[in-house]
């Protein structure tokens, strides 16, 4: 992760925001009784699209790839979870938003962890 506080806070805001919006949207869109597998695929795609499009305005402040990939991951995971849950029982929009927000937090923590493993110099030759 970037250790500059502006970007740490920025990463958090972006992923909480994307997760909340995707969770809210999926709770509204998906109804009880939908085919769970189909709902999962559709909401994963919808979440990624929302994350991908939110990247454009948010990147102006907080970065490029460092915003796009976490936002799309958060969109995909929160869409999948809220979408699947909504096929089993009614999920209120506020509940969807909270679940999405938590997914956003988990996703950015996961990205920071993965990044700490991948970043750094590798010598070749």
């Amino acid at each position: 992760m970037d250790h500059r506080i502006f970007f740490v806070v920025g990463d958090l805001i972006v992923n909480l925001l994307v997760g909340t919006l995707v969770g809210l949207t999926c709770a509204i869109v998906v109804g009880v009784g939908w085919n769970m597998f189909l709902a999962m695929i559709l909401t994963m795609m919808l979440g990624m699209l929302i994350g991908g499009f939110m990247f454009f305005p948010l990147s102006i402040l907080f970065g490029a790839m460092e915003i796009m990939l976490p936002a799309m991951l958060t969109g995909m995971i929160s869409g999948m979870i809220v979408g699947m849950k909504s096929t089993m029982h009614t999920v209120a929009p506020s509940e969807g938003a909270i679940i999405g927000c938590v997914c956003g937090l988990i996703c950015i923590l996961a990205i920071w962890l993965i990044n700490s493993r991948l970043r750094g110099a590798r010598l070749h030759g």
């Binding site: 970037d2 991908g52 790839m65 460092e66 990939l69 991948l118 070749h124």
Partner: protein, 202 residues
């Protein structure tokens, strides 16, 4: 000259800094400064764009900078004039460099090979104008080899390539395929944003 690419970047020039000049530049500034601190001798900077990288150049260098888009270089002009050193610009396509063989001690790129239509040919062209043992220093974003990031970058490329760059390039492999010796790859964010240091072994 690749007129299609030139037109695409000419069109992007007036608004380019809004997307690229904010968070991304602030985020990448320390890494670019570290990479460009290697500048020495006769330097070719590829794809100067609107000159967003100029504030990260070390002072007092003599740099030849090219870009395919004259509109981009127009936007870059105030930054070129502010630079404490010398920057000579030319509108040129990397696939068709007008310089003689072995003209430069070093070549630098910054988010360039996401946009070059034929990256391996472009890199071969750079190899031709770079002196033997000369360094190629790149700050680039590339595709990821890890899932699900690979799928995401493939998806976003379908949109981004219409407006500007591809997001799923295999630049490290391309550099090796063009005949450079890759010395170091430094991942800055996942395996996507990175600096690449190479040597021309010819």
């Amino acid at each position: 000259m690749d007129k299609h690419t030139q037109k695409k970047w000419d069109k992007a020039a007036p608004h380019f800094d809004i997307m690229a000049g904010g968070g991304a530049e602030k985020r990448w500034k320390p890494f670019k400064e570290a990479l460009f601190s290697n500048m020495e001798g006769n330097i070719l900077f590829l794809a100067l764009g609107t000159g967003l990288d100029i504030p990260t150049f070390p002072k007092g260098k003599n740099i030849t900078a090219i870009d395919i888009s004259p509109k981009m270089l127009e936007v870059a002009q105030p930054r070129i004039e502010e630079y404490d050193g010398s920057i000579t610009t030319e509108v040129m396509d990397v696939h068709d460099l007008k310089y003689a063989e072995d003209s430069f001690d070093q070549v630098f790129t910054s988010c360039t090979f996401c946009s070059v239509p034929n990256p391996i040919e472009g890199l071969k062209s750079l190899k031709r104008v770079l002196k033997p043992d000369g360094g190629l220093y790149m700050f680039e974003h590339t595709g990821s080899k890890y899932y699900p990031f690979k799928i995401m970058m493939d998806l976003m490329t379908q949109l981004s390539k219409r407006l500007g760059p591809d997001m799923n390039r295999t630049t490290v492999d391309n550099v090796a395929a063009a005949g450079f010796e890759v010395l170091e790859v430094n991942n800055l964010f996942l395996d996507v944003v990175k600096t690449i240091k190479c040597r021309n072994p010819k």
